[in-house]
């Protein structure tokens, strides 16, 4: 029989597990008392605690819930689109929700289809994924993972959310604009976007809000990571997730301003009658435009893609970070090639600024410039491959636990692989001639973003939910959510490659049915894809219930008592906070000091199965985590 470990607390010897329980209970009581103390002076009024909070954890949750709702909305827009694509011209009673002007008698008009398309992209990218990946996961986890009490600028953090939310509302409100919302694609190419109806102006103003929000957030992240990391937390001891967020923040900081400039220029074109993007001699509907001319539509494309290419790495890097954390944790071994992954990420971020014109191969660029961008695009695939391969190899020899977060993380790997590989013929100028603006492109980017990033987001939600709420999401429904989503999502996007290769163009409101070369493949694949889309929507229902049921239960105080503060037995610092959720003020009772790397699982020669980062090197490692070693040492010294 193994001896029970004893520690000395003050003048007494206690069993370690009992001391652990007593400490947890004492802290919980103190926390409850603090919250109940009306005279305490740190009892904030409701509006400052829950609406204009400066606590990064609550702001992260605000971002998370808002972003998930926007994702659901963007998804519903897509469902309407897919109904039209699967059965073009048919009346659906659900279309009537768009109103008579957009869907008379329940039949979607082509102009309305364009509105859905433009807003689906905008909402998913700018209101959904980036706020979720960076605003929610980044805000919640980065200070915790670096052992900081909060972000460097808590009030700026609050301002950042309150630029995002009104910006999002403005985007939604644009649906009510006369003539409808933005309908020139999420890419808003002029001259079409300049002559488009009022909704486009609202889109531009909304974008200014969102870009401002991103900017404030990125400054906060970079300063926090550089300045507030814990004692002993050198850069190469960061969890990979922090590196990913760090590089992402630089992309947001330096790549977004050119789009802000471009948005200002387009606003001037639309509102002040300038001709930044309007060439001379433009004729619309038989009438010459009464503007000065001399502008250049390609200027918009250059400025837009200068942001939008780094933007796609903003979409994928946090996802890779999440997947890396979950894989390390659920294989019970360190990440393979951690150093290569870090340098690959930095190189990827840097290269992302010099590949943008691979979106413009068909704009009439000269062959020299095309060759340049083709070369840089091929080079940038290398760091992506390094990261993906490292994650795959990390599985080798692991004691894999197939829980729900791990399922989503594992699925991410081949899905991102397909997305990445299908990007290669798009990055080569010659093959891009056939594939540009076809469904092949849509298939490519959806594979990286939908079964790629969004699966990683789901993985992260299932993984960190217990830290944020003290409850685990239901495993059975999690697996149901996973399997149905996985099957349906492939059913939607895989046929798109075939469609694209057959020449079906994107942004066609009837999915290609009007073209002889496209008709057959469109009619064969589109209905199937639409049914899969409905299946994918159905698959989210158990997740939505699972999420809100457990979130509300947690808010009502029904924590999972047996869970502990580290249910996944993880090594990174966010799990060192002894309460779940962590303390409202300052995250940790004692700011951790870091002695080790981020993934000390199954360390040869150590008795402990995993060793948290803040465990001192001179202390014998405690079995299976538990009491904060630093606190144990402090207690021992008293």
């Amino acid at each position: 029989m193994a001896l029970r470990r004893q520690i000395r607390v003050g003048s007494q010897w206690m069993y370690a597990d009992e001391a652990h329980k007593a400490l947890r209970e004492a802290l919980r009581v103190m926390e409850d008392e603090k919250l109940a103390d009306a005279h305490g002076g740190h009892h904030l009024p409701w509006i400052r605690r829950y609406v204009f909070s400066t606590d990064h954890k609550w702001i992260g949750i605000q971002y998370g819930v808002t972003a998930l709702l926007f994702l659901l909305l963007g998804f519903c827009l897509m469902i309407l689109m897919r109904l039209q694509l699967g059965w073009p011209g048919q009346a659906f009673s659900i279309m009537k929700v768009l109103g008579e002007s957009r869907a008379p008698g329940g039949v979607l008009l082509p102009e309305a289809y364009n509105q859905l398309g433009a807003m689906h992209g905008t909402i998913m990218i700018f209101l959904g994924i980036v706020p979720l990946a960076v605003g929610a996961f980044g805000n919640y986890l980065v200070p915790l993972q670096i052992g900081a009490p909060d972000m460097a600028f808590p009030k700026l953090n609050m301002a950042s959310y309150w630029c995002y939310f009104p910006g999002g509302l403005l985007m939604l409100a644009s649906f009510t604009a006369p003539g409808g919302t933005a309908q020139s694609g999420w890419t808003s190419y002029p001259p079409l976007s300049v002559i488009a109806s009022q909704g486009q102006t609202w889109w531009l103003v909304g974008m200014v809000f969102l870009i401002t929000s991103s900017l404030l957030g990125s400054v906060n992240f970079i300063v926090t990571i550089i300045q507030l990391r814990a004692k002993g937390l050198s850069y190469m001891r960061f969890p990979f997730f922090v590196h990913a967020q760090f590089v992402t923040s630089f992309l947001l900081l330096l790549a977004f301003p050119p789009l802000e400039a471009a948005a200002v220029l387009q606003l001037m074109d639309r509102v002040a009658g300038t001709s930044f993007f309007l060439p001379s001699g433009l004729v619309v509907s038989g009438q010459a435009l009464a503007n000065a001319g001399g502008g250049n539509p390609l200027l918009w494309q250059h400025l837009f893609w200068f942001l939008a290419h780094p933007e796609v790495y903003v979409l994928i890097l946090p996802a890779m970070g999440i997947v890396a954390e979950i894989i390390a944790n659920n294989t019970r071994k360190p990440l393979w090639g951690y150093k290569s992954m870090v340098f690959a990420t930095i190189f990827l971020g840097f290269m992302s600024f010099v590949v943008w014109a691979h979106h413009m191969f068909l704009t009439g660029m000269g062959t020299t410039i095309s060759a340049f961008f083709q070369t840089t695009t091929m080079i940038i695939s290398i760091p992506s491959v390094i990261i993906l391969s490292s994650l795959f190899i990390s599985l080798w020899g692991g004691a894999i636990r197939f829980n729900t977060p791990m399922m989503f993380a594992l699925a991410f790997l081949p899905m991102f692989g397909i997305g990445g590989l299908t990007g290669l013929p798009l990055g080569l100028a010659a093959t891009d001639i056939h594939l540009h603006d076809t469904y092949y492109v849509i298939g490519h980017f959806h594979y990286v973003v939908a079964p790629g990033t969004i699966f990683a987001m789901f993985a992260g939600i299932y993984y960190w939910f217990p830290k944020a709420t003290g409850r685990k999401l239901n495993e059975f429904w999690g697996k149901v959510h996973f399997w149905i989503s996985f099957v349906c999502i492939n059913g939607i996007f895989f046929p798109m490659f075939a469609q694209g290769l057959a020449g079906v163009s994107r942004r066609l409101y009837d999915g290609g049915m009007q073209y002889a070369h496209a008709k057959q493949i469109a009619s064969q694949t589109n209905p199937f894809m639409s049914i899969c889309a409905i299946g994918l929507l159905a698959a989210q229902v158990p997740f939505i219930f699972n999420f809100f049921y457990n979130a509300i239960a947690a808010a009502a105080g029904r924590r999972d008592e047996g869970l502990g503060s580290n249910p996944w037995h993880a090594t990174t610092l966010e799990w060192a906070a002894t309460t779940s959720p962590p303390l409202a003020h300052g995250n940790f009772e004692v700011l951790p000091v870091v002695y080790r790397g981020p993934y000390e699982y199954s360390v040869p020669g150590e008795t402990a199965e995993f060793i948290p980062q803040h465990t001192p090197v001179t202390e014998p490692a405690l079995r299976g985590g538990g009491l904060l070693p630093a606190t144990a040492v402090a207690m021992r010294e008293n």
């Binding site: 550089i226 002993g232 600024f353 009439g364 700011l591 870091v594 002695y595 001179t618």
Partner: protein, 125 residues
């Protein structure tokens, strides 16, 4: 008795200084500050002279466009260097700031390359 701090990089005691700071790095003596103020005035004089020079050369002398661009940009760069170097004390800044700015300059060059690439290699060339 084990001290957690000793187990970490000896000589770099970050948290020990939290809230106190390294007195030498941040605080200058009053004499130093007064000397800096004299430098600021000298820089101001330099900037004023250079401004007059730019206007005189490009507008007063009415230089042709290509020459005007080169002269004006060179003078503006010198003025910019003075403002950044002395008023923004970039000449004595920390490595982290230099790193961020070098990165920015590189991306700024990419941004400037945008119009050049657009016109230098049109379709069919």
């Amino acid at each position: 008795m084990t001290d957690p701090a000793a187990a970490v990089e000896p000589g770099v005691d970050i948290h020990e200084h939290a809230g106190i700071g390294d007195p030498n790095a941040h605080h200058h003596s009053p004499e130093q500050i007064r000397r800096e103020m004299k430098v600021y005035l000298a820089v101001f004089a330099g900037l004023a002279v250079l401004t007059a020079l730019t206007v005189g050369a490009c507008y007063g002398l009415n230089l042709p466009v290509h020459q005007a661009i080169i002269v004006a940009l060179i003078i503006a760069s010198v003025k910019g260097f003075l403002v950044a170097g002395f008023f923004m004390h970039l000449l004595s800044e920390k490595k982290v700031i230099y790193g961020i700015l070098i990165l920015t300059v590189i991306f700024f060059i990419f941004l400037m390359a945008l119009p050049i690439s657009h016109h230098a290699n049109p379709f069919g060339s």
